[in-house]
């Protein structure tokens, strides 16, 4: 049988990773793309670096507790620019709309895009609209690309990560994925879990101060595949390091924990849309936590683990009971079990 694209190729786990390696890089390999960062960093002149990022949004349902596809498409691209330490400036907006949906729905999405972009002080500067026949897309798909500028001294990359560095998460995990699953409404029970969908611009900019910049090694927003996928990617792309995280220190809200327990999901594998994973040198970690905590989006920020030297790179979880186990790269999205 000929190989075909599986849904899991887009899940952010092992299959996505292999797809990028075996297909994307096979055709488009170059010095910038090969770094596989959330945004490409392009040096324009001695003092100017641009960050450039693009992302498509196909979330279903398009309105969910805590956000909607419009807000998500602006926040997601802003957050991807922030990952390389950029100051987000402008965003483009490409729409694929399904024939027959009410203009009221489109306006509701636009309003959400407008409010989010204005609040974050980024402009929507160009765009495109396509309408496709009914059934060829699910209501509305949005693609946003973003451009930002990166200060001369800021350079975030896998290569900067060293043993003894500490791992910070800016808040409680797994809320977006759980909110989406719940809002599809097939479980027969309700919960107050809200998506964490948010732009992290106000949260991240204050820590990019000159005195911290040399010590901020790497940032990534743990979206699809959750914390588990992000940590595994870091280990895989760096050399000779493992990451050890402590279960006890990973912030997670009670209702998310209960929901995951009930369906047999591992919150480590579930998507976030308003959290940043930051790897920093040990000397500045506490100070950075203090600054993050001053913003409402960072009130639960915590140091959850550290980088260790290791010839057999892996992600290890120290459980509540002091035992250690592997955190594996999720293969595909989580499926509920029989029992």
């Amino acid at each position: 049988m000929k190989e075909k694209i599986l849904l899991s190729y887009g899940s952010g786990g092992k299959h996505t990773f292999e797809f990028i390696k075996n297909y994307v890089l096979k055709y488009f390999s170059n010095d910038i793309l090969n770094q596989l960062l959330d945004s490409a960093v392009i040096k324009i002149s001695e003092n100017t670096k641009l960050a450039f990022s693009i992302d498509s949004y196909t979330v279903s349902p398009i309105f969910f507790p805590g956000g909607d596809i419009g807000k998500l498409s602006v926040c997601g691209t802003i957050n991807d620019l922030l990952c390389v330490g950029a100051k987000p400036l402008v965003i483009s907006l490409a729409l694929i709309i399904e024939e027959g949906i009410e203009t009221e729905i489109v306006e509701k999405v636009f309003f959400s895009i407008k409010v989010t972009a204005e609040k974050e002080n980024v402009k929507i500067v160009t765009g495109d609209t396509k309408v496709v026949q009914k059934g060829m897309c699910d209501k509305i798909f949005i693609t946003t690309a973003g451009i930002g500028v990166v200060e001369k001294d800021i350079e975030l990359n896998y290569t900067k990560i060293e043993p003894e560095d500490l791992v910070i998460i800016t808040g409680s995990i797994a809320e977006h994925g759980c909110a989406i699953l719940l809002s599809r409404g097939s479980y027969g029970f309700k919960s107050e879990i809200q998506s964490d969908c948010a732009s992290l611009k106000e949260l991240i900019e204050p820590i990019l101060k000159p005195e911290f910049v040399p010590y901020i090694k790497f940032m990534r927003d743990p979206t699809r595949g959750g914390l588990a996928a992000t940590l595994n990617e870091i280990v895989y792309k760096s050399k000779g390091i493992s990451i050890e995280v402590e279960e006890e220190k990973i912030p997670i809200k009670d209702n998310v924990k209960h929901f995951c327990d009930l369906l047999g999901f591992d919150p480590l594998n579930i998507a976030n849309e308003g959290k940043m994973l930051i790897i920093v040198g040990p000397t500045v970690a506490e100070e950075i936590i203090k600054i993050l905590k001053q913003h409402p989006l960072g009130k639960d920020a915590a140091i959850i683990g550290k980088i260790v030297k290791d010839e057999k790179p892996k992600v290890v979880l120290k459980t509540l009971y002091g035992t250690k186990r592997i955190i594996e790269l999720p293969i595909a999205e989580e499926l509920p079990r029989i029992c």
Binding site: M1, K4, I5, L6, L7, S8, K14, S186, Y187, G188, F189, K190, S191, E192, I193, E248, D254, N255, K257, H258, F259, D261, L262, D266, T319, L320, Y321, G322, T323, K324, R325, I326, E328, I331, A332, L335, P336, R337, I338, C339
Partner: protein
């Protein structure tokens, strides 16, 4: 209302209380002063022990070994082949629990069929089939797998379909009676007496499945102690439950003759769920059948009773004798892993040839199989 609050398991994960129990286990193990093998026969226990690293908290002479307790692991490969045959030859909606979605048959899986535009849907509860059947104008085939835990809900759905005269809903029955297999397992392990001592030791006690016991009740296990002089503890699934279950087993081994006890009293009763048991026997009967790992087990496989035959997918769809092609690697040691004779690490294929994505044997196929648990958490 926030309904998930009913599922607050935090007190059963409490660090301090787990530590207290582990300390007791260490004290008891010194008194026992010989190797003790405890087998968990439920896949969810296997997963939880691996996920929380509980094996590493045990004293040297207490070995936790995994048994055959996952309905997906023991489902023969030909079952998946039959499902795929129906999908390819009839225009149907096929519904399944998530567990089976990626399980490979001899040449395909439900996931792969779905991308070939087959209508495969994941359901969370068998009742959803009633709604799906009403909403489509074609046959709906539910892949009915699971032990006594899942069977009441399936039997109830079949009853409802009959009462409501739903005539486009069918069940491909792959359900199995776990209790019948448990006896085979115990017998088989005794035949393997000498290799057991060499590798893991004899089974000294059983952690019995929590949720299956909600249905069948404590009294369904009494024969284990009476007939085989073996102790068992019905155990819940949180870390504190599991260490308590182990502690109770060790106390029993040290102080009294074999008996069955119940740690999971918050949901498991002595009698079990009378209504659930009644509806199982109203709709299903037990016949002999094959289990991956255990082979032929008498009275262990569910079959729809005559009055419910019209829901039986095997009868309605014309299935040729689909014989599972023998894809098993000759070096695959699933049979021995399933009965606890060896640990997954001792299988020559583990991690090298056999992985969750490309499983060779049954224990790697299911998310709750012993090999999958060891691969995911304990490498």
């Amino acid at each position: 209302m926030n309904q998930t609050q009913y599922f607050d398991f935090s007190k059963f994960k409490d660090k301090k209380n787990v530590e207290i129990e582990v300390e007791k286990i260490h004290r008891l193990s010194k008194k026992i002063n010989k190797k003790v093998c405890i087998m968990e026969v439920c896949g969810t226990h296997t997963m939880q022990i691996a996920k929380y690293g509980l094996r590493k908290l045990m004293p040297e002479n207490i070995k936790l070994i995994s048994g055959p307790g996952c309905p997906v692991c023991v489902t023969p490969q030909e079952y998946i082949d039959k499902a795929i045959y129906i999908l390819r030859n009839y225009d149907v909606v096929m519904t399944t629990f998530g567990d089976l979605y990626r399980v490979p048959g001899s040449e395909s899986s439900l996931e792969k069929e779905k991308i070939n535009n087959k209508d495969v849907r994941i359901v969370y509860s068998p009742y959803e089939n009633l709604e799906i059947a009403k909403s489509v104008n074609k046959p709906v085939v539910f892949l009915s797998v699971g032990f006594e835990t899942t069977m009441p809900a399936i039997a109830y759905t079949i009853e409802e379909a009959k009462r409501k005269n739903i005539d486009n809903l069918y069940f491909l029955i792959g359900n199995k009676f776990f209790l019948a297999a448990l006896e085979s397992l115990i017998l088989l392990s005794r035949n393997f007496l000498s290799p057991f001592i060499k590798t893991n030791g004899f089974i000294d006690g059983l952690l019995l499945p929590g949720h299956l016991s909600v249905i069948v009740g404590e009294k369904s296990y009494l024969w284990i102690a009476e007939r085989y002089n073996l102790s068992g503890v019905i155990t819940g699934f949180e870390p504190l439950d599991i260490v308590c279950g182990i502690r109770i087993l060790l106390e029993t081994i040290l102080t009294s003759s074999a008996r069955i006890q119940n740690e999971y009293t918050r949901v498991v009763s002595y009698e079990g769920n009378k209504y659930a048991k009644e509806i199982i026997s109203k709709v299903f009967e037990a016949v002999g059948g094959n289990w991956r790992g255990l082979g032929f087990v008498p009275d262990s496989t569910a079959k729809l009773k005559k009055e419910y035959e019209m829901f039986d997918a095997e009868k309605v769809f014309n299935l040729p004798d689909v014989v599972a092609k023998n894809i098993y690697h000759t070096k695959c040691k699933c049979n021995e892993v399933l009965i606890g004779k060896i640990t997954p690490f001792e299988c020559p294929l583990f991690e090298k040839v056999c992985t969750p994505e490309n499983p060779v044997g049954a224990c790697m196929v299911s998310s709750e199989g012993a090999c999958a648990a060891y691969y995911k958490y304990e490498r």
